[in-house]
Symmetry: C2
Subunit: 337 residues, 2 copies
């Protein structure tokens, strides 16, 4: 029997909990602990905190990272924040403990453009310890970048890449519906955007990854955030949005070269979205379109991508990796890495 | 300036010619020679043989492999046959010369099940020389296997995988239209199937790759080949098919475990196909569907995948690789591996 992969879950919010529950389904993974500084979680059992039906699991949630990493750990799954600067200390501490990391931090998915110095620091720290780390998830990390690049394997020439994601937020959790501004007035929405509260992170990261992967040399990446205004009343399990109120968020990212648009990415995430889908388009030789009707469910898919990345990060060369280079696929429940 | 990748094209049939023309568009590739035993090709210039508008290229087509590989070669692109046993000597000679290989030989795409001894021999020969080889193309190699596995990265659980490819052969070259039996009587078609002439190779390879990648343990892989009968007259540039005649081929492959179907693959390639598309379906958590409307053009895409695999095979660990593990994406025209 092969040795199990010893994993620590860092961050037990909704995504971290979903990741932990999924890891419990893999016989080749042993969750040896979790980390969360929240006093409501630290000191408790991970199974209870994640709302698992088969809890308690006998797995301790530590408030202190060093405590959690005292015993040998192969991989840390990290999901605490979207911002790379705010998680640098967390990541560096895990690397220093000799752990590989799969993080859902959106800014880590392709950090070279926005955070070159931090990227270098992480890469060096990982190489010093002979371990690898990657930022990934469904978006950024998969549907608007990895999948675009994978499709491009059948291209003889690529001039332009486009990815559009339309997500119906109606069936998503309340925090997400609030995070996208559902039920706000347009003015409230604008204020929340200015305050940096409303924003899906990752479009610039996906654009940079795709452009670099396709050899489309960009000199600018820009982004806009606007509200989707409800045209009719939308009721979800949690809230009601009236016509004229905000139903959600509409983000557009553009990568240009010499004033010419080379990469276009659009995310519409709102309650009541009619035709949710992920769509990719490559213009070149040949022109190609790929569609996932219904789209990929953000929370379910992000947990899946993070857990499925475990074998790939263990097999990867030391250093800062991205999903651009990692072969990503389903991690079978009864297989060792 | 980085050193160019020195490539030899082995086999200058329609696919080999298409590959060679595509490689000429990559500034980081230098085609240093070609190999083809056909006396109509050997001794001539590759640019002239491939029908390139900018020929001659000053690139020699050798009749003899050893001659072609006398100078240092980084990668051989190999496209001579669908059958692994008939190309073993060719592959081994290239490996012995220290070349990495990207081959379009369908049986090499995932040869472990059908040809375990030959797989082992190739793996060992490649490792002895510190080089890597892979069999790839659009199908097998990409659309019914690599893309299926890539999509599975967002899966929490996969119970069943399906890939359906509907190809309109009307706009394809005459040899392909003949190869699929277009214009034959059903009896002629059956006879050609029995004689092993009519067959698209690769479904069992794709099924095995997908099943292994998803951890779906198969105990049987079966395959059927039937004619698609024309219901109305179909005219192509090259031939005419009357109602009742064969329009093309319909192949179904099934992978089962304990009598239960786990992988289903279907290929319909015929003149006059109405809604050509590549479709992938994963059943599990969540259920997922992916469609490429219009599908991926076989010849264009196979040449693309082969050339795009060059950086990946150069970066791969020594040994026999498959597209299951190689990160495949577009190879930008002005990038070095």
């Amino acid at each position: 029997m092969k040795k199990k992969i010893r994993v620590v879950q860092f961050g037990v919010g909704p995504i971290g909990a979903s990741i932990a529950r999924l890891m419990r389904q893999k016989s080749s993974i042993e969750i040896v602990g979790a980390i969360d500084k929240d006093p409501a979680k630290a000191g408790h059992d991970l199974g209870e905190i994640t709302g698992a039906t088969d809890g308690p699991w006998g797995i301790h949630v530590f408030g202190d990272t060093a405590e959690a990493l005292k015993k040998p750990v192969d991989v840390v799954i990290h999901s605490t924040s979207s911002y790379l600067p705010s998680v640098m200390d967390q990541l560096l501490e895990c690397l220093a403990a000799g752990c590989c990391i799969v993080s859902t931090c959106e800014e880590l998915a392709y950090p070279f453009r926005k955070h070159p110095a931090l990227s270098k620091k992480l890469d060096e720290a990982a190489k010093d310890e002979g371990v690898a780390l990657v930022g990934t998830g469904v978006n950024p990390g998969f549907v608007m970048d990895k999948l675009v690049l994978t499709l491009s394997a059948v291209s003889q020439r690529v001039d332009f890449a486009k990815a559009v994601r339309i997500v119906d937020a109606s069936k998503r959790r309340l925090p997400l519906q609030k995070k996208i501004g559902a039920g706000m007035t347009p003015e409230e929405f604008r204020a929340q955007v200015s305050a940096g509260v409303i924003k899906h992170h990752g479009l610039p990261e996906s654009i940079a990854m795709v452009a670099d992967g396709l050899g489309l040399r960009l000199d600018d990446i820009s982004e806009t955030i606007d509200p989707v205004i409800a045209e009719e009343t939308v009721k979800t399990e949690f809230l009601e949005v009236s016509p004229g109120q905000v139903a959600g968020v509409h983000q557009v990212g553009r990568g240009t070269s010499g004033g010419k648009e080379k990469v276009f990415m659009e995310l519409k995430m709102y309650v009541g979205a009619k035709h949710p889908a992920d769509t990719i388009e490559l213009k070149g030789e040949p022109n190609l379109t790929l569609t996932i009707p219904g789209g990929t469910h953000g929370d379910v898919a992000t947990a899946a991508v993070a857990v499925n990345a475990i074998p790939a990060i263990l097999a990867a060369p030391a250093g800062l990796q991205t999903s651009r280079e990692l072969p990503l696929k389903f991690f079978p429940p009864e297989e060792n890495a």
